[in-house]
Homo-oligomer: 191 residues x 2
């Protein structure tokens, strides 16, 4: 999505360790017009696939997920992150390891909101190591529902999340796909 690539070039900052900082329009300050356009693009890419719900994980996934849900006309569910719970009878839960924070968290979704007929689209802001997506895959498997696709705003294609989604046989859309960082500049993948 050229609009997004331009915005990343203009407003993104590459920090040491291949960290791309886009907190001025994506995950701290949010540009709602851009989010709306990205939601429309996700809806276009995943049209006619029978998607019944959008799933994401709090917090940074919520804005793009809600916009995707708006344009797909389906409900959005955000999984909650928390320390491991003891009472989980009414929840689907999965473990998610955060490489940036180096902690294990559980994510959970209330069982009332998923049923076997659901076909879900997973949306997130970043796909890097794919831990959050894997957690949602785990929940989908436990709930017996189909994952129709994964849509991310930005993927770092050289990290293992991209391969993880491909290996699962799930269609993946990244609105911006980063092939590498060179001299502090983003190099986008050419598809």
């Amino acid at each position: 999505m050229k609009l997004l690539e331009d915005r990343i070039r203009q407003d993104g900052t590459v920090l040491p360790g291949n960290v791309l900082k886009v907190d001025n329009f994506l995950n701290h300050q949010i540009d709602p017009q851009l989010m709306d356009q990205m939601g429309a693009e996700f809806a276009r890419k995943f049209a006619n696939m029978g998607i019944t719900k959008v799933l994401t994980v709090e917090s940074s996934g919520i804005a793009p997920a809600v916009m995707a849900g708006l344009h797909l006309h389906v409900p959005v569910i955000f999984a909650r992150k928390h320390k491991s719970l003891t009472l989980t009878d009414n929840l689907y839960t999965a473990k998610v390891y955060s490489y940036t924070k180096q902690v294990n968290n559980d994510i959970s979704i209330d069982r009332r909101f998923l049923d076997a007929s659901d076909r879900v689209l997973i949306i997130d802001d970043f796909l890097a190591n794919g831990q959050a997506v894997q957690g949602l895959f785990d929940i989908a498997e436990t709930a017996g529902i189909a994952v129709a696709g994964v849509g991310v705003v930005i993927e770092k294609r050289f990290q293992k999340g991209h391969q993880l989604v491909e290996d699962a046989g799930v269609p993946l859309v990244a609105l911006a796909s980063i092939a590498s960082f060179e001299d502090g500049q983003v190099v986008f993948a050419q598809d």
Copy 2:
């Protein structure tokens, strides 16, 4: 907002201790069409007030805040919640006590995203004791910016948050205002 009151009557559940559960359309599963309509309503109520940014706190505030920002055509910033930090040079921070979780958290906003010319609209999903709003008031005061209004999806008017906003002299819009709970039913305030 009648649409919202109807939805609360239809889908909300009143739990013991005056807890209104609306996690099937507001703060776990989200109805994006309803969010969009609520964002439009916030924009209508706070039109022509010179608002430059929408502020909220993660996570449940993000969806209504992004929709308000979309319709007001201004950026949205969500304050991040975390345990108290030691390094806060580049952050505005405030303490927020959570009555439901009985813990103190810090909330923070990167200093780069606020400047003295900003006039902000604070948006949140619930106004009960007003601790999150107070935290954002504190940040606004430290940053030297004006708070043009507070918009919440649902307020429990009988708790102290409503009075807190009024005492601050800040215009308050609640799309649904709960006067009381009677026999497990919601009684809306008549304005």
